[in-house]
């Protein structure tokens, strides 16, 4: 679960890094994409891997579309108004999914087992756990390489540092922003597909993981990709330990208690060295 939080946290941070907007539609975007995968498999009998690839493409386009349809038209937006727009997008997606797929719980079939796997020192790691863990690591690595070594990645960082200067240097800031949304949407969709087999698929699929992912991102640092990912993992571990040893009733509250604590003590996040402000 920590790995899924980490992915959601990453998806959040990708957008936040470039535009300083926490995207509250993140969860619903992932949920929507997961439903697309589900429909492809159950109604159109497409194979798992084909469905996943189609879904990731869909997620990319969904991210593009949302950015172009909702965020771009906003005139002289403040961060707050952009946040409100993402909230609006969240409600629209949630409503659409409810209308299209209804309120029933749906089973999400995957070609690997949720019940068996490998035993390491008495602890059972199920195949799905392993997949989740490996996939999240791979995605993190890819993102890291992407931001480090590709032109678009570097341009994204530039837009975050100083959008005006980036524009002056000939970077198409708008297009870069659209691209971040697509990238973030894909990362979220991967998280959705990994959560659905265990949590069963309904329109509320991402409600809890999205909040936890956000908490993880705040914990690790909203501006740092590895920080957010670590924050997500950490949160998953802390939460389960708390549930196991202290109290199950308050297990879910721990995440939010942690946010408050972090915001008081180290507002930039655990793994961010210093708080950088845009001038």
């Amino acid at each position: 679960m920590g790995a899924c939080y980490a992915l959601v946290a990453l998806a959040m941070v990708i957008i936040y890094k470039t535009s300083e907007v926490p995207n509250f539609a993140q969860g619903e975007m992932a949920m929507f994409s997961t439903f697309v995968a589900y429909s492809l498999m159950s109604s159109y009998h497409v194979g798992f891997w084909t469905a996943i690839i189609a879904t990731l493409l869909f997620a990319l386009v969904l991210g593009f579309l949302l950015e172009m349809a909702f965020l771009r038209p906003a005139k002289d937006p403040t961060v707050l108004s952009l946040i409100v727009i993402t909230l609006g997008a969240e409600m629209i997606l949630y409503g659409l999914a409810g209308w299209k797929w209804g309120a029933n719980q749906n089973p999400f079939q995957v070609p690997f087992s949720e019940y068996s796997g490998f035993r390491i020192g008495g602890v059972l790691i199920t195949e799905i756990n392993l997949w989740t863990f490996v996939t999240s690591l791979v995605i993190m690595l890819l993102l890291f390489l992407f931001f480090r070594y590709t032109k678009v990645g570097v341009a994204m960082k530039a837009v975050q540092q100083n959008a005006f200067a980036a524009k002056a240097m000939g970077i198409p800031t708008r297009r870069i922003l659209t691209f971040t949304w697509g990238l973030s949407s894909v990362t979220g969709a991967v998280a959705g597909v990994l959560i659905a087999p265990i949590a069963t698929l309904d329109t509320n699929l991402m409600m809890d993981p999205m909040l936890k992912g956000f908490a993880g991102a705040v914990l690790g640092g909203m501006t740092s990709l590895p920080g957010a990912a670590l924050g997500g993992y950490l949160l998953g571990i802390i939460e389960n330990c708390f549930g196991g040893y202290v109290s199950l009733e308050f297990k879910s509250v721990v995440a939010f208690g942690l946010i408050v604590l972090i915001l008081c003590l180290k507002p930039a996040g655990l793994f961010v060295k210093h708080f950088e402000r845009k001038v």
Binding site: A103, P107, I198
Partner: protein, 394 residues
């Protein structure tokens, strides 16, 4: 936050509109005309509990059927269905709308305990008869309300019977309880503990789950450590599915026993990818009743798109059946008090999907029995017990 403000302003608008309309003829009975009876129901058509919203739509089809058969004493039922998204604030606004704007005669069903509690006192103060809230909460009948008739067997009683069955018929010795951390779950827990205490047994583990949780590893660990040979589930369908999957992964395989809210075995079998097979659960909707055929035909005719909706849709018929019976018995001269008299005359009534409906001057809990089923191959329900009646007196 934005949603909250919208709801509050909507509620205020409704209130003002209601005040403007309220001063009409006093001698007429609210919600009853020569040709119509106005009935209202709220239910979650969107939001987290939308799955249960099928109840309210099922009731609508039931009324269509009644109207097609000629209505009740020359009156047709006019049905108002409102979506409250399982949000008590919205339910409250709907209650005001029902009473002050539409002027309903009675309310029926209305999924949810907290949503119902938001309007219970308001409806009662205004003498709005309310039949069949679809939840087994004790809040409907304790204390007794003159105009409120409960049908759903109480959770405490249901849990009592399930625990009893597990111990006496299935020979289980160590019973754990996995419940949603609110009134719904806690009332179930109370029933199970009542039985165990009476027998001098101890509960193996009480494990609560918050409605929004999706990661249940630590919950399963607690259940597993308790070495329970049976676990009773008083949770959402989603949590039932997750806990069965997670337990399977952890190698924990007790006998699962489930509350009637999880009685749609076809659906549960599907979402658990087959793990639901062998689960024993409580049931109070008799799908073997001869009425079922007629109802399913009505469903086909009036709601052709709802063929896949499952058992909650038909439950919408069940919660409205005693209401219609009461309206029939009350005769042409219908008002809240004649209706209450008529409802109280319903004794050991069996011409419906439930069992042995009995109200009385001091009895507001209509149904007091459940039967048990087991999920068979492919999700097919297999009846394993007859109707088990319990005594609602302490």
């Amino acid at each position: 936050m934005k949603r909250g403000i919208a709801i509050i302003s909507a509620a205020t608008c409704l209130l003002l509109m209601g005040m403007a309309v309220s001063a009409t003829a006093a001698d007429k009975v609210r919600g009853v005309t020569d040709t119509e009876i106005l009935i209202g129901q709220w239910g979650p058509q969107t939001g987290p509990a939308a799955l249960w919203g099928a109840v309210a739509r099922g009731t609508g089809v039931f009324f269509d059927l009644i109207n097609e058969e000629g209505g009740i004493h020359g009156r047709k039922i006019k049905y108002f269905l409102r979506d409250d998204s399982y949000n008590p604030m919205k339910t409250k606004a709907i209650g005001k709308e029902f009473l002050e704007e539409i002027g309903i005669f009675a309310a029926v069903g209305g999924v949810g305990t907290s949503t119902g509690m938001a309007v219970r006192d308001y409806l009662m103060e205004n003498k709005v008869p309310w039949v069949g809230p679809p939840s087994g909460s004790a809040n409907w009948t304790v204390p007794m309300h003159k105009y409120l008739f409960a049908i759903y067997p109480r959770y405490t009683d249901e849990a009592y019977v399930l625990t009893q069955y597990a111990v006496e018929k299935m020979g289980k010795k160590n019973i754990a309880f996995f419940y949603q951390n609110d009134d719904y779950g806690k009332e179930g827990l109370k029933g199970a503990k009542n039985y165990l205490e009476k027998k001098g047994m101890k509960i193996a583990a009480e494990v609560p789950v918050e409605p929004q949780d999706t990661d249940l590893k630590s919950h399963v660990l607690k259940l597993k450590e308790s070495n329970a040979d049976a676990v009773i589930l008083w949770v959402l369908p989603k949590h039932a599915a997750i806990v069965l999957g997670t337990s399977m992964a952890a190698g924990f395989k007790p006998q699962w026993i489930a509350c009637s809210t999880l009685s749609d075995s076809t659906l549960m079998h599907k979402v658990t990818k087959g793990l639901w097979e062998g689960v024993v659960y409580a049931n109070f909707l008799d799908m073997e009743s001869p009425l079922v055929k007629k109802y399913l035909e009505a469903q086909k005719k009036f709601a052709p798109k709802e063929q896949e909706t499952g058992v909650f849709f038909i439950a919408g018929f069940l919660f409205a059946e005693p209401l219609v019976e009461g309206l029939r018995r009350a005769g042409k001269d219908l008002n809240p008090d004649s209706f209450v008299k008529a409802m109280e005359s319903i004794q050991h009534w069996n011409d419906w999907l439930g069992h042995d409906c009995t109200f009385g001057p001091n009895e507001r809990q209509g149904m007091k029995s459940v039967f048990l089923s087991k999920c068979g191959q492919g999700g097919k329900p297999e009846k394993i017990s007859d109707w088990l009646k319990f005594n609602t007196e302490k």
